[in-house]
Amino acid sequence: MSLRFARPLRAPHCAAPVVALALALPMAARAQSATTPASPFTTDVISGLPARTIGPAVMGGRVAALDAVRIDGRLHIYAGGASSGVWKSIDGGTTFKPIFDKYNQSIGTITIHPADAKTVWVGTGEPWVRNSVSVGDGVYRTTDGGENWSKLGLEQTERIAAIAVDPANRDVAWVCALGPLFHDSNERGVYKTTDGGKTWSKVLAGANPQTGCAMLRRGGDGALYAAMWKHRRTPWSFASGGPGSGLFRSRDGGATWQQLTKGFPAGDVGRFAVAVAPSNPKVVYATLESKAPALYRSNDGGDSWTEQGTATVIADRPFYFANMYVDPKDENRVYKAGYTFGVSTDAGKSFQPVLGAAHGDHHVLWIDANDPDQLLIGDDGGLHQSFDRGAHMRMLAVLPFSQFYHVSVDMERPYRVTGGLQDNLVWIAPSSAPGGVKNRHWTTLMGGDGFWSFVDPTDPDWVYTEWQGGRLGRVNVKTLETRWIAPLEEQGQPANRWHWNTAVAMSPNAKGTLYVGSQFLWRSSDKGTSWQRLSPDLTTNDPKKQQQDESGGVTVDNTSAEVHTTIYTIAESPKDAKVIWVGTDDGNVQLTRDGGATWTNVAANVWKAGLPRGTWVSSIEASAHDPSVAYATFDGHMMGDQKPWIYKTADYGVTWTPLLGGELTGFAHVVRQDLVNPSLLFAGTEFGLFFSIDDGKSWARYAGSDFPPVPVRDLVVHPRDHDLVVATHGRGIWIFDDLTPLRALTVATLARETALLPGRPTVQAPFTQVSDGGEWGNATFAGPSAPEDAQVSYYLRTRHLRGELKVQFIDSAGRVLSTVAGSKRKGINRIGWAMRLDAPKSPPAAAGLVLNFGALVGPKVPPGRYTVRLIRNTDTLTAPLVIQPDPRTTHTVAERAQQYQEAVRLADLMGELTVTTESLIDARDQAGDRIGKLPVKDRVRAMAERFSTSLDGVRGELTSVKEAGGAITGEEKLREKIGDLYGNVNSFDGLPTKSQLTRRIVLDQDFRVSAKKFEEILEKQLPALNEALKGKKLDPIVPKPRQVVKSVM
């Protein structure tokens, strides 16, 4: 038996609450929980708390890997984000779904097996090794198109640049492992499997522990070409190239390799790009990073090489753009990755950029083998599609890959969210919007790579924000003009060292006061017009770490990305404006307790508590509860230490306690303390989001609402709405609506079988007619809006399996207004109540064919105090539920009360109409039954027919009756008129119009007139008719009672 309707009915304007489904833990969490099971606060408990993502998808995050295939003519696309996981489209790019949410989100390469489209290899760890690049954990494979994945080892390689497969055998593959970026390792090179990834053998090792495989291509003749690359990053430098770098070839499946040098210049080389012509395996192209960068071609499968050209695109940032493709049908048409893809039609002698408009920084390309006009391009702005070889492009703006660095909120209603993105500007959007937060709700404020952004609390039309390297500005949200306000050094002063991600902070005490940090801490109290230097150089000022003009290796690459010995985080105590914490990228933890007059570096006190010396301070959180308390995260990954370091001090930094228990994994970016419950902490690491309810002693990974193990860079608790806003670096902004239940969750609560948790007062938002879902088509991103119904949270120690679980909503008089089925998951559950009475009964119209849309929902109860009652078998728990009017409302309490009363009156009128109509139809049907039992010319039959006809006449006044073979008859009778009036009154929380009030009286009178006619028919005709029926030995006609149950007022 099934209660699944073949076509589920859904009211199109209604969005029921999201049900969080955490079907499985990320692998990392699983391993952790196995070793530290002590705390009952686990991922299973926390993951029931719903979160919603508002994107955006209007600007990308990097699409670092890409493959596509046509199956039965339909284009299936796999797009891999730099830190966004793998997303799949089966409709040519109109829609995508994430298919890798349980696993590492940094995607290095995707390879669909050419003979078996359901077999797909994914190498994790992006190979485009910019400063902010994430970390992978090995190779995965699916054999069912992405439904299930097997993790196949090579975990320590950290980055995989390419995977080549044998078209004749889906179990044979070669993995090109770039390896760790920040430390020496031999876990790199080319690995081969012949058993589908069960076992691996390294078939090509680097010449030294810095050299890994940066590109691997397999020609149609089976030859393998591997670009080996020596490279290393530190926090203050990058080095590309040197001994070990070179191009290698194997013609025996990887058993033996030969370095290819004939025709290449001598001297240090860096990163190669290599590509084999699909139409001719002897034609191979390579670009070579060197002091004289050039593109080379081989016509003999790599034996010898000839320089073709030196077009600019060939030398575009080799560490970022060493990638190249040859047209499937034209061996002379070459695409080279770069600031945009360069295309050559003359075998690489000359290049032009592809013409189509797209975000720059192009990394990966897919060319349709059968129709090379069709391209997909993965770039820093997302995924772009072209149907004319790149001449024109469209962005597939449905992938929420946005890589936020920071986020802040303001006090508008709904509050706005603003933050900066890796290579994708600074943006602002409402946290909620009718019909969902869509791409069009996001407004860009500033260009570049975006970082901190704060709405000026003294003037919400202005936003303080920055791009990379300390370009700090004040932007007008309405005019979008920018005043550049960064402090500039005066004569004789040392130059400011501005970090790539320059620290900016707002004072929590003095509204509008702003801090920015170079090596010095600066403060402005006049909107950036003037600045006060509050500190000496707070860093180690180590000159060895200040040589960025020499950074880059073979190719100098000196953006601000390696600027070091700078302030990275600033936190003024909300409890004491003179207490200011500063953390630096070179490991100093500086504290002033006198507003900057004197500073103390307390970093050594953290080192005493186990932190490796000099570890980068990634965030400091000054407690909102106690000026002596602070929390700090430390991130050593750029020095090869990926442990999550979180510490607390409760004595102004003299002693520190590590907070590393439970399920915490990944190097730590941010820690925040709740503004209400000091024991409630939130942490973001490179591999996810973590909660603690015991002041950091134990952490639980959040894996609900399909939240992946994505880097979490910043967190903020909204001080008014009590939401947690999460800035992910790869999956946009996520919002947890209402932390109140979590604040009440204690270890003692967790021991109970069932617990009803408190919630914030529900703000009753106005009903809106806005609905713009359909006309934008499916190719649109829409993040759920904030829940508009009253939210109820409860805790179940174990999944509810047997018996009853329901939630009732009760008014102040003790009447049950509504009953809602409860969700059943283990841990935190949340359900919603629409805050409405039952819908009024509506009579059927015509032959019962037309919905009375106005009357589909019941009257919306007025703000006030209600009670929630949770019933779980024999357990009954109650809690108050407070409903408040929207603070933006212009309606008085009395007006709202009058509106509610009027809505209820109309609902009751509709109810009366229904009962009367049903009674009338029933009497008529009884008459019909008797008519059928009487001969045609019978006198009694004629009486019954007259009775029936009289009733139908009245029915024609009560409801529409026309049957026109469709729903749109246009006929309006009492049912339609009352329904429409009720719907209009019920959808506006203020006073009904005078016209509406009058209309109700008119319709009420009209109804009474019709009802009286019905009664008169019964009185005048029925006694005689029933008497006559009795004479025919037929049952009398007994009308249904017409009593109406009044609604709650």
Partner: protein, 245 residues
């Protein structure tokens, strides 16, 4: 209830995440049948009626009713504003009346819908007697459903569709069913969460069913108020009526 949504079928055995279940499919299914009350008690029920309600939107509820007889006859109804939508199958024809847009006559269900509905009509559900029904089951090991341990079974139905069924790891009762269905040639993914089991004629029946589409917000909740077993149901309830004209 979704015992009827359990499905099964023959299909290629894919290489799935490395799990080495200590139990076999037969072990798990035996415990599942036992958890439901055992084969004898299941087979002792020859007809079933249920009534309840379905939330079709915030604050919008519709009464629902279901009737079913062996081996695979089923009728389902839901009612809004006195208008009743019907879906039914009599072993030969799956049909529906959807009156909300001015149509009162029955129509034969499109094949996509019919397939799913007919699957649901299987009285005991696909997992009972799955071999005889021609389905294929693969035990994928243990997984988590909303934080709870569950046995994960892949069911390849004889009709070609695939289902993933999750049985509570302790009780072996079904708690979730994921469906991949083809609608107009395109695959859609839906799920059903099942719970609130109670005793009906010695068998465990779910009183709560939630349905949703993967990746879309919101679920549709159904609550059963009452089951009635072994009440005679006339065959005509399942047969497509003649059109009025």
């Amino acid at each position: 209830m979704r015992r009827s949504l359990f499905a099964a079928a023959a299909a290629a055995v894919l290489s799935l995440p490395a799990v080495a279940p200590a139990q076999t499919v037969d072990d798990v299914i035996a415990k599942y049948v036992e958890a439901r009350g055992g084969l004898a008690k299941l087979k002792a029920i020859t007809s079933l009626k249920a009534v309840g309600k379905m939330e079709v939107g915030p604050g919008i509820e519709a009464p629902i009713a279901m009737e079913q007889t062996r081996p695979a006859n089923m009728r389902m109804e839901f009612t809004i504003q006195g208008m009743t939508a019907v879906q039914a199958y009599d072993g030969a024809t799956a049909w529906a009346i959807v009156p909300f847009q001015g149509k009162k006559d029955p129509d034969v269900m499109p094949d996509d819908q019919a397939k799913s509905f007919i699957e649901g009509a299987d009285f005991d559900g696909a997992l009972v007697d799955w071999k005889a029904k021609g389905h294929t089951l693969t035990l994928l090991g243990k997984d988590k459903v909303e934080g709870s341990d569950a046995w994960k079974l892949k069911v390849n139905l004889k009709n070609g569709d695939e289902r993933i069924v999750f049985l509570d790891a302790d009780s072996y009762l079904e708690i979730r069913n994921e469906q991949k269905v083809k609608m107009q040639g395109t695959e859609m993914e839906t799920f059903t969460n099942i719970g609130d089991y109670r005793d009906v004629n010695g068998t465990q029946m779910p009183f709560s069913i939630e349905q949703g589409a993967k990746g879309a917000p919101g679920v549709q909740r159904m609550t059963i108020e009452k089951y009635e077993a072994n009440t005679p149901i006339d065959k005509t309830r399942f047969t497509m009526p003649k059109k009025a004209n």
